[in-house]
């Protein structure tokens, strides 16, 4: 960090300021493999230009290669895109796009904690990328829906086959989407919200 007090810090544009009444925020996570459309989906529904938050990690060289001593480390920076939707004057929704590969799971501790739920973006050309993610979400008890982007030339499987391949139970929604279109991305989020609502209703005391 080399900071000078004279350095201007870019901040939110005037129209990106939250009202002082903003009291609380909720978050939803959009997770999927490389190039599956996470950034596109965050950007298509966000009211602010999508932003990026970074985390620097070091990978300890322990037991990997001791030639450089046991404290040789590689620093890696992992970026996460996010966007924002103002729900009411008091409530704000944040959307985080995060890579699904297992080596990025260290990011998940702070991310999925407290998240309302997740959208798993699936590219049918490479569905394997999302398999581990689905398993991990199940283990963590994070409710999720699956959104399949229709990339040109991507194989189209009947939903029934896809559900069987993903080994998803019947209640978990699978929808098709075009992450580039705001209305389509919004519909995916809506599907997640309806699903969360049905879970809440099922669990509510009578």
């Amino acid at each position: 960090m080399d900071w000078k007090s004279s350095d201007p810090v870019p901040g939110p544009r005037a129209e990106d300021h939250l009202p002082h009444t903003a009291r609380a925020a909720v978050k939803i996570v959009i997770v999927g493999g490389f190039g599956v459309g996470k950034t596109t989906m965050v950007g298509s529904v966000s009211e602010i230009r999508p932003l990026t938050t970074e985390e620097t990690m070091t990978q300890a060289g322990v037991g990997v290669d001791d030639n450089f001593g046991s404290d040789s480390k590689t620093a890696t920076t992992v970026a996460m895109d996010f966007g924002r939707i103002s729900i009411t004057e008091q409530l704000v929704l944040y959307l985080f796009g995060t890579p699904g590969q297992e080596r990025f799971w260290f990011l998940w501790n702070g991310l999925f904690e407290g998240a309302l739920g997740a959208v798993v973006l699936l590219d049918t050309r490479r569905p394997e990328v999302s398999f581990d993610v689905i398993g991990r979400l199940e283990e963590r008890g994070v409710p999720f829906v699956v959104a399949v982007n229709s990339f040109p030339g991507a194989p189209r499987h009947p939903m029934r086959e896809l559900r069987a391949a993903l080994d998803l139970s019947d209640e978990i929604p699978i929808v098709e989407c075009d992450a580039r279109r705001r209305a389509s991305s919004r519909d995916v989020l809506m599907t997640l919200m309806h699903f969360l609502h049905s879970l809440a209703t099922a669990r509510a005391p009578v």
Binding site: W3, S5, V9, G11, P12, H17, L18, P19, H20, A22, R23, A25, V26, K27, L51, T53, E54, E55, M57, Q59, A60, T77, F82, R84, I85, I87, T88, L91, V92, L93, Y94, R103, W105, F106, G110, L111, E113, G114, A115, L116, G117, P127, E128, D132, I134, P155, H157, A164, A165, D167, R186, L189, M190, M193, H194, H197, A200, T201, R203, A204
Partner: protein, 139 residues
């Protein structure tokens, strides 16, 4: 052509074996790191950290004093209106963990106020979910 099939992971084998994260202060959940990775600045006591989320909203209570560090001043100026920790991290180009440390000091000095996020509970609040749905409909 049928798609490849997912194989459920054996729950007995969870979590995947891996050493505990380096540094003290790892909370329970953090012991389950899948890889030998840890947060650079994570070696603090972890007490306050736990309460700061990516979507905690931060509002400055005062203008920066001349004694404030440049980072603190920049943060206080940014937070004249409420801003999430994620947005602060993005605008200041500082990792989330570093922003968390900055905020820990500013919170202790009562220079900023934190508005906690609404988090998922075992039985989620239906009126909250309905508010979010209503907000999305207007999009």
């Amino acid at each position: 052509m049928t798609p490849p099939r997912r194989r459920r992971r054996d729950p007995e084998q969870q979590p995947p074996p891996g050493p505990a994260p380096a540094g003290p202060g790892g909370k329970e959940g953090e012991q389950r790191q899948p890889e030998r990775l840890y947060i650079l600045t994570g070696a603090t006591d972890g007490g306050e950290r736990a309460s700061i989320d990516l979507v905690t909203l931060i509002v400055a209570c005062a203008d920066p004093q001349p004694t404030a560090t440049p980072e603190q001043s920049a943060l206080l100026r940014l937070c004249r209106s409420p801003l999430s920790v994620a947005e602060i991290s993005a605008y200041l180009s500082l990792p989330f963990s570093v922003v968390t440390l900055l905020l820990t000091d500013l919170l202790a000095a009562e220079l900023v106020q934190a508005r906690a996020p609404v988090v998922r509970k075992a039985t989620p609040d239906r009126s909250l979910l309905e508010a979010v749905m209503h907000g999305l409909e207007k999009l």
